[in-house]
Structure formats: C-alpha cells, structure tokens
C-alpha cells in the first residue's frame, strides 16, 4: 500500500479588501483620513470652488480675445488684445521694429542651444564653447556689426534686455566665480583675504545698492575722460554681484572633492596648477551644477531690478504698458502675462536643474 504523498497546496491569495483599494480607499487615505483631514479638505475645496471658477471666468469665459479697449470694457473679463497690441514693445522695448528679426535670430539660437543641452545631444567642450560664443553672437545681432545697421544701446529693452542681462551675467560670472572660489580656497593669505572681502561685501548688501553704485558712483571712480554707458555699467555690476554668489556655490563643490584625488594626482607628479585645473575643478563643477542653475534662476529674476536704475527691461515695459492711456484699467492682464512669462522661464530652468541633480555625481553615489 503506497502512501499518497501529501503535496502542500497553498490557498491562492485573496484580493485586498475593498476598503483598501480603489477610488474610495484613495479618497479615505488621502483626503478624509480623520475628522481633522476632512475639515481641511472641505475648507480647501470650498475656497477652490469659489476662486477657481472666477479666475477661469475672468481669464477665458468672459475674456475678450479680439477687439479694442471698448469691447474689453463691455465684456468685463480679461483683455487679451491689449497684450497682443503691446507684444512687440514687451519683447523688444523701443528697438526698431523693422530690425526685429535680428534679436529673433539670437533668440532662436538660444532656444536651439538650450534644447540641445537639455536633450544631452551636445556635451563636453563643444557645449561650453557654444555657450561662451552665444552672448557675443547675441550682442552682435542686437547691436549690429559687420555692416549691419548699428542700434544704440539706449534703444534695447523688453524681454530681450532681461534675457541678455541674465545670459551675459551668467556666462561671464561663472569663470569669475570659479577664480574667486579658487582664490578663497587655495590662495595665499593675501589673495585669500582679498577674495573673502570681495565675496562677503557683495553678498552682504542688496543688489539695488550695487546697481545704484554702478549707475551713480562708478562714473566717479573712473578717470574723467573714460565714459562707459549706463547699460554696460549695470551689466558689470550684475556680473560682479553674481560672481560673488557663484564663488560660494563653487567653494561648496571644491569642499566635496575627497583629499585622495589631490594626493593621487600630486603623487603621480602632476603639478599643483594642473591638479587644480584638470582634476579638482571639473569634478567640483559637476557637483554644483544644480545649485549653479539655481543661481541662474535667481539672476534672471534679479534682472527685474534694473528698472529702478532706469533701464526698461521686460517688467519695466509691462509697467509702462499698464500706464498707457488708451488701454487704461488693464493692469492685471499685464502683470498676469508677465507672471506667465517669468514663471515659464524660471520653472523650466528649475526642472532642468532637477534633471541634472538626477544625472549628477551625488545621485550616482546613493
């Protein structure tokens, strides 16, 4: 008589109880967890139900998309023809309209390069050189040279000016910031103290006082026969201000490089100078790319301050447009448009920063 082997037969797992899956469970877990959660959710829903439809109504339903100021006043919603009418001025300021294609080409170059960078199609030294050339290309296209009609700097304005100030500011201040950081980290006591004094002085005061300094005080510092125009003075001020902040970011990167790197390099007979330039700095920069992007966003936001010293950047043009007598009463539209533009640019930069953080060296370690 053979004994039938008993084979263990597990009962199949029963499905999760219906109270733990599905929409109802999600609602219970995430919105109505207890009486406190329920109160918060209902209060927020009430606020959103009052404000969001009003906002949508103003922006789209009751808004006017074609027509003039009177049509807008009749409809009572947002007045988008106002923005359309002012679009050129907002983008270019009082730049000659017939030459608008030149900044246009510079903008396309910027967008293409940004896209190539974002998608990681272009990398290494080619990428760096391309970004270093871009501001010069933009300046030549906007200002005019090589037989193109020259456009005086007092006519530059609008979003073009904001982006130009930020672009030149970032690209010049990064190498300057690296030098300051190296001076602060590796320099001799005298160099070190000079770098610290410069960095802390600029980081300790508001940008406005530095802009005032550039527009009122810098002419006093220079020899009487040397005259630099206002835009260039302000650009220099923004570069120096940004460099002080970049230096602190880069210093964080220098501190993150382990001592073994230096020791290995010196032991192999690489000179001090080459160790810093080819071993330390490239790694340090890779570490601090995300915070450097953060500084780029900050600098772009800070360009809005130049209206206080008399340049008409994007925000300045928005403010002017809001005061136009033929479109009186549509300030909100102007500021909402400005907010959308600033937000899209800053937010896409910060998304890129997060992307770099995901790809970067500190992410690989984890």
């Amino acid at each position: 008589m053979t004994v039938e082997p008993i084979i263990f037969q597990p009962t199949p797992a029963s499905p999760a109880p219906s109270s733990k899956v599905g929409a109802v469970a999600w609602l219970r877990a995430n919105l109505f967890g207890g009486w406190k959660d329920t109160v918060v959710t209902i209060a927020l829903l009430a606020i959103l139900l009052v404000t969001v439809p009003k906002l949508i109504g103003w922006m789209f339903v009751r808004a006017t998309f074609l027509g003039d100021a009177d049509a807008c006043r009749l409809a009572g919603g947002a007045c988008w023809p106002f923005i359309v009418d002012k679009f050129n001025v907002l983008m270019l300021g009082v730049y000659p309209q017939e030459l608008g294609w030149r900044p246009g080409i510079a903008a396309i170059a910027l967008i293409v390069l940004a896209a190539l960078t974002y998608t990681n199609r272009m990398r290494g030294i080619v990428l760096i050189v391309a970004w270093a050339i871009l501001p010069f290309f933009a300046l030549i296209m906007i200002g005019g040279a090589f037989g193109m009609r020259e456009v005086d700097q007092s006519l530059w304005g609008g979003l073009m000016l904001s982006i130009l100030l930020a672009l030149v500011g970032v690209i010049v201040s990064i190498p300057l910031g690296v030098m300051l950081a190296l001076g602060r980290y590796y320099g001799s006591p005298v160099v070190k103290s000079l770098c610290i004094a410069f960095i802390e002085l600029l980081r300790g005061v508001p940008l406005i006082t530095i802009l005032f300094m550039a527009s009122v005080m810098m002419p006093l510092f220079l020899p009487p026969d040397l005259v630099i125009n206002n835009l260039l003075r302000i650009q220099i001020a923004m570069i120096l201000f940004s460099a002080a902040y970049m230096a602190e970011v880069v210093r964080g990167g220098l501190q993150a490089i382990p001592a073994g790197q230096t020791e290995a390099s010196l032991a192999l007979g690489v000179t001090r100078r080459h160790t810093i330039a080819f071993v330390i700095v490239p790694q340090a920069l890779r570490h601090v790319l995300p915070p450097l992007i953060g500084r780029c966003i900050a600098l772009f936001k800070d360009t809005s301050l130049v209206i206080i010293v008399g340049l008409l950047d994007f925000l300045g043009m928005i403010k002017n447009a809001a005061l136009d007598t033929s479109w009186l009463g549509f300030q909100a539209e102007a500021y909402v448009f400005a907010a959308v533009v600033y937000w899209s640019i800053c937010y896409s930069l910060s998304l890129y920063g997060r992307e770099l953080e995901r790809r970067g060296p500190s992410a690989q370690k984890r």
Binding site: A29, N30, L31, G33, D37, V40, T41, L44, L45, Y186, G187, S188, V190, V191, L194, L201, G204, V205, P206, L207, I208, T209, F212, M213, V216, M217, P219, L220, F221, L222, P223, P224, Q255, P258, A259, Q261, T262, L266, R272, T275, I276, I280, I297, K301, D302, S304, L305, I307, I308, L315, A322, Q331, A332, Y335, A339, Y342, W343, C346, Y347, S350
Partner: protein
C-alpha cells in the same frame, strides 16, 4: 570627524603660501588700485562741484517722508531723515521675518501632509512664488490686489475697528490708561513666575522622574495672574478706533498701502522659501525613527517634540538664516513702490546733493551690520540644536 581633517589637508596640500615677495606684489597692486579709485573720485567730485564728507548730515533735509515711526518734519536734518529710513527698514524686516516664519512653517508642514489636496495646494503656492521675481509680486500686490479694494467710504470691516480700503489698512490703536505701568510690571512678574514653574517642573522630573505639566502649568500661572492684575488695576488698556471722517479714516493705527504691499510681498515670497526649508528638514528625519518611537508607544506630540523637531531643525535653521538675510536685503525693493525705507530715502538724498559715495557707504555699513547680527543670533541658535560632534 575624519572628513574635516582630510578636507583641510587637501586644501593645504594645494594651497599657495608662496613667497612673502609675491604676496607683497599682490597687496601692492590691490592698494594701487584703491589709490587710483580714490584719486579719480577726488578729481571727479571736484569737477562736478560736489562736496565730500559727512558734514551734509547736519543740514536741513527738506524732503517729505510719507511714513515714519518717529516724529519727522522736512525741517529735520539729513542724518535724521536717514535714521527714519533705517527704522522703517528694520520695522518692515522684523515684522516680515515673524510673519513669514509662521506662514513658512505652515506651508512646510502642509507640503508633507498626508492630505493630498493640502499638499498640492502648498506645492502650487511654493512653485509659483519661487519662480516669480519678488518685484513682480510687489507690483501685483500694490497695483492689482490693493487697488481692487474699495474706497475708504465703503471700506471692508473685518472685525470691529479693522478696516481694509485702497488707501490702506486701519486697526484700533491700543491706549495706555492710568495704572498701565503697574499692570505691565505685574504681567512681567507673572511671566517670570510662569517661567520659573516650567524650569522647576523640568528639574523635578530629573530629580524624581515624575512628569508635571510644566509648560501648560506655567502658561496657566501666567494667564491667570495677568488676568487678575488686569482686573485689579482697573482694565488699563483702552483702544482708539479708526473713524471715517471726511475723505479718509482718522485715528487708530493706519497701515499705508505701500507698507502693506511691501509686507505682504516679502512675507509671501520668503514664506515659500522657508516652507521648503521646513519640508526638507522634516524629510531629512528617517521615517524609521518616527515608526520606532510610535512602536514604543510614545505619543504623537512627544514624537514631534523630541524626535522630529530637534533633528529637522538642524537642517532647517542654517538655510533659514540665509533667507532672513535675503529678506532684509529684499526689503530694499521698497524703493520701487515708494515706501520710504533706507534705500528709498538715501536715493532721494543722492538726487538732491549728489553725495553718492557717502550714502552708499552708509547703506553698506547698515546692511552689513544687520546681516552680522542675524548670523550671530542664528549661529547661537544653531549651536544649540546641532549635534555635539565627537
């Protein structure tokens, strides 16, 4: 800590001590540069007929100031006008620091809340405010939000004596009546007693192991004694309500629209940053610690106070120090909407007499001092919450 040691060594291995001579050359170049700036400035000032030196501070200013904490007339000196500006800068900064900290803590907690809707609303708030220039937010509040409020005639009355209108906000002004000082002294004594009870309860716990409700007991002592003192001294705090008369409100505490927009803008902007610091602080505490404490039967309040907060603050405080310093610097944007802060008043003085060098030096001195005070205070706080390093 071994890491610090190796880092220091790495810096040392590469640092360029160099010869005394090469350092002397660098120093000489720097000094020559400063000398060049100095002589150029002297020459330029002479060319433009601008006096130099701080003698102008005693001269009559003749500039009107819309909003001042201390009594001011245009007959006062430039120095006094600048002092008004410093006080305005300090006043708006201190108020904004307090309010943005409160709002920022709420935003940070909301960001990590289990409530999906609350977390999303907080995220939208943070991402919106952080990606817009502060100046745009200020303009928006000043010329869109506050301008949409009604004329003082139809002002919105929030509570009794609290009015919102496009000319500003009006609040009741507290008035000291006879017996106020006695009451104030009594209240201070009550506060000291409450504090003493709290300390005693903590000591008692160390000695005997018995837990007394130290904080709530102390608070109770303070409230009950202060209330008694208030009644005994004959209710010495009155209030003056703002009253609509003619074209505007008279009496009460008035908050001008410029001040209100600057305060609202600074608070909304900085709270978004502080909220992020609070969020990263909370998220830096490992979930296992909270779960372990819960599993040991520690109550939620105690987990928050003894496990979550002490560790979260280590991450939050250093970042928040920077945000406070930025807030003080950002208050200089007042000049764009016409609130008379230090930069705005200084700018007007430069326009009047051209003494840019002196005014800019004064600005820098004041801002550097404020920043120094903030970092000293916050470093002291930070030292209390950081790990004792072995």
């Amino acid at each position: 800590m071994p890491m610090t040691k190796t880092r220091a060594k790495s810096g040392f291995a590469l640092s360029n001590i160099g010869s005394v001579a090469s350092q002397g050359v660098v120093l000489a170049i720097a000094l020559f540069f400063v000398y060049l700036l100095f002589t150029n400035t002297q020459e330029n000032l002479a060319l433009r007929g601008i006096e130099s030196g701080f003698a102008f501070l005693d001269k009559e200013a003749g500039l009107p100031i819309g909003d001042s904490l201390i009594a001011y007339t245009p007959m006062r000196s430039y120095g006094y006008a600048f002092l008004v500006g410093i006080l305005n800068t300090l006043f708006v900064s201190v108020l904004a620091i307090i309010l943005s900290t409160i709002l920022g803590v709420f935003v940070g907690i909301a960001r990590v809340s289990n409530n999906w809707l609350l977390a999303k609303v907080a995220a939208v708030y943070v991402e919106t405010l952080r990606n817009l220039p502060l100046l745009l937010t200020l303009f928006f509040v000043y010329s869109v939000v506050l301008a949409a409020l009604p004329h003082p005639r139809e002002a919105i009355e929030l509570l009794e004596g609290v009015y919102l209108s496009k000319r500003g906000f009006y609040l009741p002004r507290p008035l000291a009546e006879p017996g106020f000082w006695t009451f104030l002294i009594a209240a201070l004594i009550a506060f000291a007693l409450g504090l003493a009870f709290w300390r005693w309860a903590a000591l008692h716990k160390v000695r005997t192991g018995k837990t007394l409700p130290g904080f709530w007991g102390g608070l109770g002592i303070f409230i009950v004694l202060t209330g008694l003192a208030y009644l005994i001294t004959g209710r010495p705090v009155g209030s003056e309500l703002p009253v609509y008369a003619g074209f505007n409100f008279k009496g009460g505490l008035a908050m001008k629209p410029e001040f209100a927009s600057l305060l609202i803008g600074l608070v909304l902007y900085t709270a978004a940053y502080i909220g992020e610091n609070v969020r990263s602080g909370i998220q830096s505490v490992e979930a296992g610690q909270i779960e372990a404490a819960n599993a040991l039967g520690v109550s939620n309040t105690v987990v928050t106070r003894k496990v979550l907060l002490p560790q979260a603050l280590r991450v939050t405080i250093p970042a928040t120090t920077n945000d406070y310093a930025s807030l003080v610097k950002n208050s200089s944007l007042a000049v764009a909407i016409g609130y008379p802060d230090m930069v705005s008043i200084g700018g007007t003085i430069i326009g009047q007499n051209g003494q840019a060098v002196e005014i800019i030096a004064m600005w820098m001195a004041v801002y550097l001092t404020i920043n120094l005070i903030i970092s000293l205070g916050m470093n002291a706080l930070n030292a209390r919450v950081q790990h004792a390093e072995r």
